[in-house]
Amino acid sequence: MAKLTMTVNGKTVSAEAEGRTLLSSFLREGLGMTGTHVGCDTSQCGACVVHVDGQAVKSCTVLAHDVAGADVRTIEGMANPDGSLGKIQQAFQDHHGLQCGFCTPGMVMSAAALLAENPKPTEAEVRHHLEGNICRCTGYHNIVKAVLAASGQDVSKIAAE
């Protein structure tokens, strides 16, 4: 066990962690932040995506100690300061971008990384960017629509509802 410090959603946090502790376990078990979901634990599904220094990563496939000192952002950091849903989260709600919600934390974090880099993506770019995020419920159309809506684009002509 060794002490580990990083910034999570703007706050400095410290906890003891073994060398093998995954970033996903550190967040969920070490810090009690269970918003980050673990779907597959084999780097396939993207439910565990968080940002490390602004980059989307699968937190089940990153060692917590390897990102010591980093600036980590999770789904808990996506709400507005007053606790209301952030822009991407609200768009997912408005456009039915979730059903069971299991994949949603990863979807929102991947979408946020895309919009930071490409503020007005095309539908094809959104689909390409979300390739590593698997959803078993929605069939993706409404997720793509939500991301396009969150980017401020008109989605009224996109068919799926």
Binding site: G19, S43, T61, V62
Partner: protein, 263 residues
């Protein structure tokens, strides 16, 4: 995953020293190693992270081509190699998905030498040089069959140096579940000839399709390989494709890569 000691040196010298212990293993992006440790296929006593070594990161123009630090993530190569070697940047930008590209590195990819990985095709087709802490290895000598390379115990890749071809393209036929290449072909045209490297297809890992190279060196057009056939004898057989299917893909993808390189 079995527990281990985690160390994160900031220089190559410290990393090499830490790796001289027989029970230690290098960790780069972890996109292959961590899943195999979870399955207990690997269980090092010490894990030596290479991600904190500044001298192993970055893309720069250097002697005879483009130098890429071994610990440079795919996403950075996709961005920073684009102006110098677009085919290489496009290959890096097509690996896995964005989260894999944030962490996975060129050094980890070519050290692992997965038979379906993309980078080995670029390294071999470009005739790149693999620079380690001990020596420089020509791509033709570096890849020695699937999951096998010329690297010795404790030796690490520091940098890869790519000569920049006049024209090049990589075409990958996706295996949609894994996002690796079912078959991928990298074609590179230099002043003195064409090199064609194939990944994903052979039981022997990445290889050069010399017959295709010969035909393309005399005429760099998609038609030049049309009349050739690829021997399926050494090709991979799995539920995604037969050896004959992969052999056929080699030819088809080579033609597409040439057409793309000719723009």
């Amino acid at each position: 995953m079995h527990n281990f000691d985690f160390v994160k040196p900031s220089t190559i010298a410290e990393a090499v020293k830490a790796l001289s212990d027989g029970d230690a293993q290098a960790l780069s992006g972890g996109q292959t190693l961590l899943p195999s440790m979870k399955q207990r296929l690997a269980a090092p006593g010490t894990l030596v992270s290479l991600t904190g070594i500044a001298e192993m990161k970055g893309v720069c123009k250097g002697d005879g081509g483009l130098h890429i630090g071994a610990a440079t993530p795919h996403a950075v190569v996709a961005r920073e190699a684009a102006a110098h070697y677009p085919a290489l940047a496009a290959l890096a930008g097509g690996i896995g998905d964005p989260a894999v590209r944030s962490r996975g590195t060129i050094g980890g990819s070519i050290a692992n030498n997965d038979p379906a990985a993309c980078y080995p095709a670029a390294v071999l087709a470009s005739g790149a040089t693999v620079v380690t802490n001990k020596r420089q290895i020509a791509a033709d000598d570096y890849f020695q069959g699937m999951f096998t390379t010329a690297l010795e115990e404790g030796e690490i890749v520091i940098e890869v140096r790519f000569p920049i071809p006049q024209k090049a393209a990589y075409v990958k036929f996706n295996q949609p579940a894994s996002r690796f290449a079912l078959t991928g072909v990298f074609v590179a045209k230099f002043g003195d000839g064409v090199r064609v490297a194939v990944t994903g297809a052979s039981n022997n890992g990445v290889f050069r399709w010399t017959e295709g190279e010969k035909a393309l060196s005399s005429s760099f057009s998609a038609d030049a390989v049309k009349g050739l056939s690829v021997d399926p004898a050494e090709m991979i057989s799995d539920l995604h494709g037969t050896p004959e299917y992969r052999a056929h893909l080699v030819k088809v993808l080579t033609g597409r890569a040439v057409a793309q390189a000719n723009g």
